[in-house]
């Protein structure tokens, strides 16, 4: 974690071209119901010093960019004929001219857009990498193929290990330039992994790269939930024997125990303004939902029922809390005012609906359920209407969590044996497996953007 922090200042961003192209043209109206996927081409990134290593860097960079844009769901990737074989064998070296490939120091004029236009591409992303004295530079550009003009041009300088971060950053630029919205390609996911008998918190890039261990409790850590500003994670750990609630600063590594009442101290959920944490305690003899300040003070009881109440999740406006209760005889999703008033049952189908996760954007709640022939991820409106089962034939699918833009879900599934983290869009398609390390991976939670790193 400290390493990552150190790299941040190493990554310097220079705007190559001044903002005269930042006219507010929206290429992709992603809110439109008739939204169609935007055809974009990505040329294999060139390297100014094409030794073997740099070739791999270039191909790696364009692969990362393709993966990012593909995951976003906004694009159809235009593939030039002949490039498929090339990409199938990494290191294959036949750089002779493909249509429109960028050359070092190429201006718009010398780029031939026609072949890309013939393939149906409306935009083209190119990149040039150079490595000098251990310092890696990426010059990346996005062109409007139809108008034959530059949309965005950026130069990134950093260490060689920053390659994927540079590309993610450029991918965010592409999303912003074409849709006017912020991308999530620089965000990270925190999750629980069981390695060697312990369950610890781990962190990775949103696409599964750069996995590293966050906690070392040598115990069972569960339910990591990151504050809306992206700086602190609340989670449950058995470090001191009992399931207590901890708060860990992801930047400084400072950790403190914020709830250690007798019984359960579990299932934390940050209010959208970051000022309260909803959680489940059983100190009064039965699991109930409470809220408190992030430092553990100001505890307020919210539910009061002899059945199990657990797993709160806040609405984006902070006014309501959805949660799981067994008061109807088995676990179902309920919603109430954050004060505990006006409790309503939302789910009536299925007999085991748990782990609600309220979309950060709007009135949708994802949860896991015994529906559709197994444990699956489901989605409904926050009034309980329009219930859909999103997953199928992926083993036990559990613990859904939203992307910051509310368009994607991450979850844990046993499709390939042990539980792994998967990513899909909120329609249940474009499923990608993210984790491949040893052990089992559960409790994914998408870390919101750091507020400071806003553009």
């Amino acid at each position: 974690m400290k390493k990552q922090v150190l790299f941040l200042p190493a990554l310097i961003l220079l705007t190559l071209f001044l903002a005269h192209h930042l006219s507010a043209k929206v290429y992709i109206d992603i809110r439109s119901p008739s939204f169609r996927k935007f055809p974009i081409a990505i040329s294999t990134f060139q390297s100014s010093a094409p030794n073997q290593r740099n070739m791999q860097l270039g191909e790696r960079a364009s692969e990362i960019l393709k993966n990012d844009l593909d995951i976003s769901g906004f694009f159809s990737l235009v593939t030039p004929p002949g490039s498929v074989e090339k990409e199938a064998r990494p290191g294959g070296s036949d750089p002779p001219s493909k249509p429109g490939e960028d050359r070092p120091a190429t201006g718009v004029e010398s780029l031939d857009f026609q072949p890309w236009a013939n393939l149906g591409a409306e935009a083209l992303a190119t990149g040039v990498l150079s490595l000098r004295d251990g310092s890696l530079t990426l010059e990346a550009r996005l062109y409007d193929v139809v108008k034959k003009e530059l949309i965005v041009g950026k130069r990134y300088i950093g260490e060689i290990t920053d390659l994927s971060r540079m590309v993610h950053r450029f991918a965010d630029e592409i999303i912003f330039a074409l849709t006017g919205e912020q991308g999530f390609f620089q965000t990270k996911i925190i999750f629980v992994s069981q390695v060697g008998g312990f369950k610890e918190l781990y962190q990775m890039d949103f696409d599964g790269r750069n996995v590293f261990q966050v906690t070392n409790h040598k115990s069972i850590c569960l339910s990591p939930r990151v504050s809306p500003d992206g700086t602190q994670v609340a989670f449950t750990s058995y470090k001191f024997g009992n399931p207590d609630l901890f708060l860990l600063n992801l930047r400084t590594g400072e950790e403190k125990r914020i709830a250690s009442y007798p019984g359960l101290n579990i299932s934390p959920a940050w209010s959208p303004d970051g000022k309260r944490i909803a959680l489940t305690l059983s100190k009064d003899g039965n699991s109930e939902i409470y809220t408190m300040n992030p430092d553990g003070t100001g505890l307020t009881r919210v539910t009061n029922h002899p059945a199990i109440d657990v797993s709160p999740t806040w609405s984006p406006d902070g006014q309501r809390i959805a949660f799981v209760s067994s008061r109807g005889g088995n676990p179902q999703i309920y919603v109430m005012q954050a004060s505990g008033q006006n409790i309503q049952r939302l789910t009536f189908e299925g007999n085991y609906n748990t782990h609600p996760s309220w979309s950060p954007r709007g009135e949708r709640i994802a949860f896991d359920a015994t529906m559709g022939g197994g444990r699956n991820i489901c989605l409904m409106n926050s009034d309980g209407s329009d219930l859909r089962v999103l997953t199928a034939n992926m083993g036990q699918c559990e613990m859904p969590a939203w992307s910051p833009d509310g368009r994607h879900l991450i979850f844990s599934a046993t499709r390939d044996g042990e539980p792994r983290i998967f990513l899909m869009n909120a329609e249940g398609t474009r499923i990608k497996r993210l984790t491949f390390q040893r052990g089992s991976d559960t409790y994914p939670y998408w870390i919101p953007r750091l507020r400071e790193s806003s553009r």
């Binding site: 069972i220 699991s287 797993s311 005889g329 015994t370 559960t442």
Partner: protein, 194 residues
């Protein structure tokens, strides 16, 4: 000795009565519709009448409830036979925490032993199967542990000698993903603590 065994007869009778009663109001089924409307039998009973400690005649109570008073420190210090705590492990039905007659039998054995080993302290560990998210299963595991603890208290074991912890689905007895494995994992275990 004679007195003691007649006590046990009373306990046995009361247990049979109680378990008939429990069986009547909470029929177990894996499908688990039965729980609908269930006002949480065992744990709920906490606030009700402290029920029959050993010598008292069985009353009509939904479930044995705790005897909160520090009670019945039986048997002078003597060589107590060790007990197989693992063998006393008790099983539960899916998404349920009510005690089966077999579970009660085991708890009675345990209570009997704890009365002899009168300094022993036991932690009841509640566990759940892998179905459903662990947050709910942690709560379910705690209910299972509490139902066992409450029953032991009803048999006269002081609350100070009993504690509970829930591991939810985190410590499966059988790591498999079959129904047989899951069934094994819906359990409470007893661990001696200092």
């Amino acid at each position: 000795m004679v007195k003691k065994s007649s006590w046990w007869l009373v306990i046995l009778v009361s247990i049979v009565a109680v378990s008939f009663l429990a069986a009547g109001c909470a029929k177990k089924s894996v499908v688990k519709e039965e729980v609908a409307g269930r006002p949480a039998p065992a744990v709920e009973a906490k606030k009700e009448e402290p029920p029959p400690p050993p010598p008292a005649p069985p009353k009509v109570e939904p479930a044995p409830a705790p005897a909160p008073a520090p009670k019945v420190e039986a048997a002078p210090p003597k060589a107590v036979e060790p007990i197989d705590l693992v063998g006393l492990r008790i099983q539960y039905a899916f998404d349920d925490y009510s005690l089966s007659s077999k579970a009660k039998e085991n708890l009675e054995k345990l209570a009997g032993w704890m009365k002899q080993a009168d300094t022993a302290k036991i932690q009841v560990e509640g566990h759940a199967c892998e179905i459903g998210t662990n947050e709910y299963n942690l709560a379910l595991g705690e209910r299972r542990a509490n139902s066992a603890k409450t029953y032991l208290e009803g048999l006269g074991i002081g609350a100070g000698r009993l504690s509970t912890i829930s591991y939810g689905e985190e410590r499966p007895l059988d790591p498999g993903h079959t129904e047989a494995a899951r069934s094994k994992n819906r359990r409470a275990e007893f661990v001696m603590i200092k």
